[in-house]
């Protein structure tokens, strides 16, 4: 009944050690935070899901806020860097805009919970100075996209009348909202019951974004999605 491990070599660990435990806690926390909100999720609940007691979490993270920082800080920074790399590509503004939209969806589907957390806890970040970097990063992302829009206008690719700031706000919102609706990787109409996958939603979002910026003459031009996809893949190395 009781099989013993061989005497040499490390014994099977009764309590999981090191970084993998930390990662497990982070993943669980991300899930709960995204589902119930940061402040509505208790340390006790997180602990229960990873089979430990609340007090033990404090061996891995100093405070609850720390846990949140650890979840969002790096992914958001990486997102900004990727956006900047795409914005600097030597292709026309429309292709860079398309690549940005696509990249955002990739980032989202690769790290679903964290990105939900970034958008839906905006109130919390605004009220806690230690999280002000979240808003700074969002402003930075706005700046990058605003510049793409302005360059597109200057090049005659986008309508001259658009207000790049309002348009950026609208498009960014559109992306976040569309991605946010993809809760379990799909999005089910509450009215018709029909289901929309990531590809369909991305397609629709991309189409909408271009429709907002294109001049009448180019409104029905092809979307060049495949080219933009390839650009994203090459530039971000995937």
């Amino acid at each position: 009944m009781h099989a013993f491990a061989s005497a040499n070599g490390p014994a099977a660990p009764r309590r999981r050690d090191g970084p993998e435990r930390r990662a497990q806690i982070l993943a669980t926390a991300a899930e709960l935070f995204a589902e119930y909100g940061f402040e509505q999720t208790s340390m006790r609940e997180i602990a229960k899901r990873v089979n430990m007691l609340a007090g033990s979490l404090y061996h891995h993270f100093e405070t609850k806020d720390d846990l949140l920082h650890a979840l969002i800080r790096d992914p958001q920074q990486q997102m900004i860097r990727e956006n900047e790399r795409l914005a600097a590509l030597p292709v026309d503004a429309e292709l860079r805009l398309a690549a940005t939209v696509i990249a955002r969806f990739h980032q989202f589907s690769a790290n679903w919970h964290v990105h939900v957390l970034l958008m839906q806890e905006a109130n919390f970040y605004r009220q806690h100075a230690e999280f002000s970097y979240v808003q700074s990063a969002k402003n930075q992302a706005s700046l990058v996209m605003t510049r793409i829009l302005d360059e597109g206008i200057a090049a005659g690719l986008f309508r001259a009348e658009i207000d790049s700031y309002l348009t950026n706000a609208t498009i960014s919102q559109m992306i976040s909202a569309a991605a946010g609706r993809l809760r379990q990787g799909a999005f089910i109409s509450a009215v018709t019951g029909r289901e929309y996958g990531l590809a369909a939603v991305l397609d629709h979002t991309l189409d909408c974004a271009l429709r907002l910026v294109r001049p009448a003459a180019r409104i029905e031009a092809p979307v060049r999605r495949a080219e933009a996809e390839r650009l994203v893949g090459d530039c971000l190395g995937r």
Copy 2:
């Protein structure tokens, strides 16, 4: 020093009575809920702002949830009814779509805090069965707008290729987001510092909405905002 009120007639009330007190509590609660979130706002905090103690609130409202119900239930119902009235007007679908967008902004600016509450506490409503009517009402609103879109497509006013459900989701989100950014009745760009008033944001949103649905041939047609405004004014009696 001590002036007495005349013996007849009601004495000056030392503690404010009746419905006005209730209204004051509701207004204060709406403000705090919108600013800090429903669950992050304590009954003690609400009480402090209206100069009473937490226990006394329970003379006016049975529970904290009750307070929230009292805030959102009627305004949301009214919003739906207004949307339905507008959708039934005997004018073309595009004008009805424009009127819907405009009405939504009116509703929002007339009752700022409540509408913020309706959009930003979606997680909470989803998790508490007693608030399921919030989602039902949103679905109802979706249905109304989806029908406008479908009728516009059938009439050849809108593009035949649009998916009315996804497009409705996008436009609704656009309206909510735009209105939500108008926190203090205006919206200040974090990048350029430039300020946008309600009129400018409404203008932009309306333009975007029409741009998403119009076929290429009518993409630059005039927006008929004045006509839509008048329609809203007449239909909703303002």
